[in-house]
Symmetry: D2
Subunit: 361 residues, 4 copies
């Protein structure tokens, strides 16, 4: 099988590098194109990231010699790529993702720019794979031929969104109060200054609480008249904190249901939860999307973040809440499941569903 | 003025050392007695803690030569001390604190053993100084002459209990969901293994959530027929996490009130809050018990834990809660305000109120 | 091929668990026996380590149901094992390793007890595989039949010993001054208290400097008249520090040679260095035992400790020394290369050389 | 007494803030002037550092309303200041420090720009207070009236330079091999990315080793024909590492003497060491410049960095070196003794010696 050729927009940053790392030897995709800032354009990838390769494994041989381009190279992209991953900052993402899509290049994005654009799906493939139905409408209304935009939600959600959804679809959640403890890699590189986080907690991450509260409503929403309508029946309050861990966002969750489930019902809902990525056996799909650990002191950030290639959500400490009905702790890997890994899973779903195809035969 | 002579039970552990440190040059009290385990008994204090002095300042000269005793030395205690601070573990505390009190020695305790004993007051002097009224009843019903027991609550409460109380007394709190991020010093020494907390979070501290939920009800309660009756009108849910900070417990708090206050009312309630320790100008009382910081990213553990000698509670991020009405972040120093400093403040209050007196004239 | 059956003495501690982890699916060996303290004896392995599994991957299924034994079970060992790995503390190791060997069980040890026993080889297979020649003499002089003892050196040496040896054998090292920065996992679990190492360095590890200075002399020594004679031509001074990293011991090394090599000669000596484990293609042998990194700021603990399964030594910053001739920085994984991985490599070497055989056919 | 009015050049950065903090209520000096980058010019100090105040105590009231200026305000400086502290980066320092001095403003600098300028003294007041003799020559040869430049050395030296000097002057040091473990505050703010230092060591700090090896030679040098001549009799090799501590640079030192002293001689040399700052009883001078700790595991970064207001050097672990003659561990606070505190001590010395005077009477 011939692999699809993909680009990585903003491929030299923290998330971009994680894409490069995770796409090494990927069965469907190969990286053939990388963009970065003006400063890096024209350099080989290995030279552009010199001294700033932050991944725990070596830089893949196959990308070292790729010449990094700046964004304004649509003609080259059309030739070199079947689609692109976007790790752009929100500002440039707004403009460039639309330009790429208009030029016929599907864009699978991490950026927040289009998360609330009414005809752009915000995907967690285990939750709302059916939101892909909007792509046809997106293309039609915008006059785009083969290009389109899909996005993924903020990394802070990933630790609790799938476990909440598995319960919501059976028992309907009314309210949840959530406190997150988020790793420094979530801020990119250089991100958080070491002086600010050693022996410290910062109880604030700009914009993070708003995203954590608003994005779930669209993810759980549905398509009505060609646009997404939020699920406003659920209310979330999120306190977001930065702590001194390298990778892994942890969340403490208290939940109130419409139909109060038993402990056994909750555990069963999590244990039995499978969805489209598992059915399609996508390469990066976790075998079991929600792993419940019985030990009283799990999940722990360092011990559990890498569960099933960093793509599973690990949950523990299910117990009655003294104020709502149930509470638990949940964890996911923020730069894998919450960023590049989640983006690749989106692309794998798109590929299997026929939305991504090779231009070259 | 002649100082009162005090003992420190379990004076070689983390909290015991903090007592020794904070009592250096105290205007009312001087340490004349220290107990520790059998292993240390008979040694000078400096030798008993050799290589295990964990405080940031030097060991006070005045304690170095005190010969450490084991617990079973009531006759000596009666001669040497006007009262004792207890930093005992809960197990021995149950037995020994009663023996000491029965022998005429007032016990000002950090231990959890008697926190829910119906005639023992659990003090936060800014909140329930009037709970001292029970001491007379405690002494009478138990046939104790001069001895008595007062305790302080768990360190996890201190970061949010005073700010909650300042609001509760005006607007009546119905429910609060709280997540704490607690420093390693809270586990004593050796406490948490470094291998377990570097680049990690442990979402569990044995017994801590139960204490955090139950103790406030007694603290806010009142004396009825010679016993404490809890304030059951308030419900608290606490998620307690251990994080890799040295000192300082931080709490994220979401609150629901009976009478929903405005932001201005809350800020005013905190700003204007003063109580008995401030009125009596107790040596360790913070000038302002609740310090509100306007910056969007405060309080921070390392920057704010030492506010006003580590005795103030620092609060920030007051904002509407998406589920309840208001939410905020609060911080206090767990081994100062939450342990030894809190115990000393209790003793200062007792002294000023006439409950502690010198045996020697 | 039938695998050899091995035991792990002290298999529930930090190093014991690392053995269990690394031996999962090992091509030569399978774990069939585990000992631990009295407290654990009689329990299944999974129950004996409940809540104290410190490895980043899940406990192997194959060991979960092994019933943990106490040490005094020589008859069972003889039936169940072809040889044992010893992760015993030095005290019990002295006695038990001899008992096991006398009973016909080869002992591959991590413990320090026999490191300076004159007829026991202290192996780094890349350096002194020929020291195995003493085993026949060890067995003969002690009247042992099939049993014997081999040990590995202290973890603090591993980061610099192989790079030093690669130079010593060509240019003869006279003196080296070394400062190590060692991870907390080197102290086992619970090991270093978190309160002692967060935002701190402890410039002392009991016994570590003496080991770091003395053990290399035996490793580089030779067999004379059936006993090891040290290489006293080399002098090492080691400053050993504990720092707040999870895994990975780093060393800063200044070296004085008899024949001062050029930079190119040093780099070539490292690059071309291969030894017996590479020739025999042992499963855990690193492809390249010494990896030199050109970047000015490498090796770094977190980025480089896992190089080649955690078995390679990563070196960088080769530059002239302002006092001696050359200096460099070196790193190895202390619980893999420096402990369990090193022990397994020793066993692989012994197996290939015919010292370990199956009792059952 | 009227205080001298001082400016702080680059007063909003990490070192600038430390100056502001340490100068609060200083008996000789008061801050009346602050410069910063163009971006901050025209703002009040409190607004210019909004959200970036990194000190553990509150911003002094007296500086909050000072309007921050850009560098190009020599006329204002002449009116507002009797002298300035410079925390400028090396680039601008080169130019501006000379301009200020030429304009009649004494410059007490932290910057490296003029450390090797032949007529500029590089002061550690305990070591080379007599180097101030060059100021008259500096002024004469350059045609400066009241202005002059004095500098302090790099922070990495401070932990070991005074202990080495105390021995050098009695026993003459020939060679020293030193490894430092340096705190993140040494890199300023934002400085080291948290992603780069959590669970990690970076064995490289650009330019630091060169400074550590070269600056001591001038500090120990003497004035010959109006210029400094280095003491080339001593050779230092420095390995500089960045570790994840907040404040405090630690050094492991191995030393070779011309006259090998006994342990008692070394300890006496350190204990009895006093110098000009102690004789003049300068406000920030440590009572005892070199504090030796007997415990086997001291100095420790967090426990000892604040010794005597962060101005003392704490030494421990004196023991024979297996390669040279003696070795020890030394620690100092890098942003206090090693930066702002050291600069202020220089100014205190200059003041007492009559080099700084009030323009206003």
């Amino acid at each position: 099988m011939k692999k699809l050729r993909c680009g990585v927009l903003a491929g030299t940053g923290m998330v971009g590098q994680k894409y490069i790392q995770l796409l090494e030897d990927h069965p469907y995709f190969e990286v053939t194109y990388v963009t970065a800032s003006e400063r890096s354009a024209g350099k080989k990838y290995i030279d552009a990231v010199e001294g700033r390769w932050h991944m725990p494994t070596e830089m893949p041989e196959s990308v070292k010699d790729i010449v990094v381009e700046n964004m304004d190279t649509l003609d080259k992209v059309k030739e070199s790529c079947d689609f692109v991953f976007s790790a752009l900052d929100s500002g440039p993402a707004k403009e460039w993702e639309e330009k790429y899509a208009a030029a016929g290049i599907p864009v699978v994005s991490n950026a927040s720019a289009h998360r609330h654009t009414p005809d752009v799906p915000m995907l967690i493939p285990e939750i709302n794979a059916d939101h892909l139905d909007i792509i046809a409408l997106q293309q039609k209304s915008r006059g785009w031929d083969k290009g389109f935009i899909v996005v993924k939600p903020n990394c802070s959600l990933q630790s609790y969104m799938t476990p909440l959804y598995a319960l919501h679809k059976e028992f309907k959640i009314k309210r949840a109060i959530i406190t997150t403890m988020q790793a420094v890699s979530g801020a990119g590189h250089p991100g958080v200054a070491s002086f600010d986080i050693i022996d410290n907690i910062i109880p604030y991450i700009g914009g993070e609480e708003e995203k954590s509260e608003k994005e779930p409503l669209k993810i759980l929403g549905k398509i009505v008249d060609g646009k997404f309508v939020n699920d406003d029946s659920i209310k979330i309050s999120a306190h977001c904190n930065r702590v001194g861990t390298i990778d892994g966002h942890m969340a403490c969750v208290s939940v109130e249901f419409e139909k109060n489930p038993t402990k056994e019902q909750i555990l069963a809902a999590w244990k039995e939860f499978k969805a489209v990525p598992q059915e399609l056996d996508l390469p990066l799909a976790p075998k079991q999307p929600i792993i419940y650990r019985d030990e009283p002191n799990r999940p722990q950030t360092r011990l559990d973040r890498d569960a099933d290639k960093g793509m599973a959500c690990v949950v523990g400490r299910l117990r009655p809440c003294n104020v709502f009905q149930w509470r638990f702790t949940a964890l996911s890997h923020n730069t894998v499941r919450g960023a590049a890994g989640g983006g690749i899973l989106n692309a794998e779903l798109l590929y299997k569903k026929g939305f991504l195809t090779a231009k070259l035969k």
